[in-house]
Symmetry: C2
Subunit: 201 residues, 2 copies
Amino acid sequence: MMKNNKELYDQLRTTLKQWVDLPDAQWNELAAIFHPKTVAKDDYLLHTGDEVYELYYVGEGLLRIYYLNERGKESNKAFPAQGGFAGPLATALLKMPSRYGIQALEDSVLLTTQYDDYFNLLDQHPLFDRLGRKILEWLLGRRELREQSLLQQSAKERYLDFIERYSSLLNRIPQYHIASYLGITDVSLSRLRSELSSDGY
Amino acid sequence: MMKNNKELYDQLRTTLKQWVDLPDAQWNELAAIFHPKTVAKDDYLLHTGDEVYELYYVGEGLLRIYYLNERGKESNKAFPAQGGFAGPLATALLKMPSRYGIQALEDSVLLTTQYDDYFNLLDQHPLFDRLGRKILEWLLGRRELREQSLLQQSAKERYLDFIERYSSLLNRIPQYHIASYLGITDVSLSRLRSELSSDGY
DNA sequence: GCCATTTCTTAACAATTGTTAATGCAAGAG
DNA sequence: CTCTTGCATTAACAATTGTTAAGAAATGGC
């Protein structure tokens, strides 16, 4: 069910509207730096350690963003699906090797832009700074919810929250990736699930 | 060693310069909405559940920002000291009861502004949107580092990192507050410390 | 200096999560 | 269809962290 390009760009505009309703002139400027891209299931858009050049908008499909530590342990940071973004902004700004990677969990249709184009855009009109600020405010709120969850909730509580919050993604993401998002091993998650099911969930 | 007001505002301007170097006109606009405030050790600037009205800049002293969950467990989110900010931006935007609280760990000298004034300021000049965006980018980077740390590091590693990163604050923050920042109990931290010291740290 | 209070440590035991390994199950390739 | 491969489950055991309680050490008020 591949979207055509017009639908794709319309969808991006709708997504951005939740923060700033860009007038046609600015919208056209913004749309001009985004280009359609498709990616196949399991392909990588970014490896940890690479320099970051691109930002992605998910029109259709599902990605995962993950951290990798020195011991080679991966932890999933987020699962951007339709309407979501993926692009290590903080790292791109620093022009440093990325602390995270991005992989497609499904065949996906994206809109992508070069970070250099994005940074240039910010200088073209103050509305882009405003849009950027609003998106960042939103992102920050999400990161803080996650931080609180990791600090204060047990693995079981985090899993139950995940089920509730991301019910639509539940059967699209392998268990071991969910476990890694929750900060536990796949074996522990399986044990939690069996405890929950014997408790009547 | 109480700073006088001029030093206090100069310090704020210096702090902001790391993101945007405001011309005098915009700096004066910004300075006008900030007011000096002192707070005594142990006093609360914000309780969880209160609505958020104010943003704080720390001129001198030390604060802690903490989350509180339904079971009454507190977890420290950050320890803003000289040059730092405290103010639940994400919550202020939502006009919802704050998920976190702010308490002074030392007698502190602050500059504070009403969020309404801050939001108005953003409409006065595009530079403020830019400043806001840059601060948020920086904050987001820090939150992501913390998220990765909570997902991938053991309590012992997190503690060693904390010692390294915040060595200057180490003897100003009680152990149990550090433990709560690390996501463990004070008893566990004490145990870690004794293990480390018998390992020669 | 002395007392009360707070903070930190220690110890025993419980609960949670990790590790390893074996097995079952399901989906995709040929 | 069969085989391979990847994913999920289960079990036994280890390591980490939590809980509770008692006492030691440090701090602040008087």
